[in-house]
């Protein structure tokens, strides 16, 4: 093996090590970011539902239950406005959010950018709830960074 061959080998080896390090670092950073985003989302949903509203002096969890059972227009307008305000405060900078829950008679659907998103592409948290009208449903909260172009349908 000539000296030139050896030098070429060193170059190729260096490039390989750089590529492996870079991909490992990227993968690790993404995993940590995923754990953090999931944790943040879950806490955001739990805290939001515990928030004591000015409406009827009840928390959002109870009010969403009432809304999904009664479909009261006045309650819907006020609750949507209040929940949106708290979501804006909790929301991470440069992130979008969508909150959704539906029952046979009512719907709550709050978002800051996109009304429809492919849920597989965003960070999603959900809580199963039993409504005062004995129906069961889920409250979903999804968030995603502004930089991510999320499709409306999967």
């Amino acid at each position: 093996m000539s000296i030139i061959d050896l030098l070429f080998l060193i170059i190729i080896f260096s490039i390989l090590i750089l590529m492996i390090s870079y991909s490992y670092e990227k993968e690790l950073s993404e995993k940590v970011a995923d754990v953090y985003n999931n944790n943040y989302n879950q806490l955001m949903l739990i805290s939001l539902l515990s928030y004591k509203s000015k409406i009827l002096n009840r928390n959002f969890f109870e009010l969403i239950g009432i809304l999904l059972c009664t479909n009261d227009t006045f309650l819907s307008e006020n609750l949507n406005h209040e929940i949106n305000e708290i979501l804006m405060r909790f929301n991470k900078e440069n992130y979008n959010y969508i909150l959704y829950s539906q029952s046979k008679s009512g719907l709550i659907w709050i978002y800051n950018k996109q009304a429809k998103v492919c849920l597989k592409e965003i960070t999603l948290s959900s809580i199963d709830i039993e409504l005062p009208c004995s129906e069961k449903t889920q409250i979903l909260l999804g968030t995603w960074p502004n930089s991510l172009n999320v499709k409306e349908e999967c």
């Binding site: 000296i3 030139i4 030098l7 070429f8 060193i10 170059i11 260096s14 490039i15 090590i17 750089l18 390090s21 870079y22 670092e25 690790l28 950073s29 940590v32 754990v35 953090y36 944790n39 943040y40 806490l43 955001m44 739990i46 805290s47 939001l48 539902l49 515990s50 928030y51 004591k52 928390n59 708290i86 405060r89 909790f90 991470k92």
Partner: protein, 121 residues
């Protein structure tokens, strides 16, 4: 070895030297990133435990608990920020690198949207 071979060998040696310098620099950067990620994981685990202890899985922390908080380890510093009343409570030292978590402050039967910022070592 003729003069052309010599020049070629010198050029290749310079290229190899350049790659080795880049490799070392990148490896140092890589080690720093791994160290940062390690600190982040430690801090996140600490943050998660702290928030669970303070809020008992409800996302609501009583104001008195923040007033009486003693932070011993896990992060360089912690800031509880009341987003509605624009006040905050700081503990520990400060650094540039941070992450935050949402929660509610409960005081006098009211709740206030808040964030806790963890400053990573």
């Amino acid at each position: 070895m003729n003069i052309e071979d010599l020049i070629f060998t010198i050029l290749i040696s310079i290229l190899v030297g350049f790659f080795i310098v880049v490799l070392f620099t990148k490896e140092i950067e890589f080690a720093t990133t791994i160290e940062r990620i390690d600190s982040e994981i430690d801090a996140m685990s600490f943050a998660s435990d702290l928030m669970e202890n303070l809020s008992e899985f409800t996302g609501v922390i009583k104001k008195e608990k923040i007033d009486n908080l003693q932070i011993e380890t896990g992060c360089n510093g912690i800031i509880f920020v009341d987003l509605e009343r624009n006040v905050n409570w700081s503990f520990g030292n400060f650094s540039n690198h941070s992450f935050s978590l949402p929660f509610l402050i409960e005081e006098s039967d009211n709740t206030y949207a808040a964030k806790v910022i963890f400053l990573v070592k």
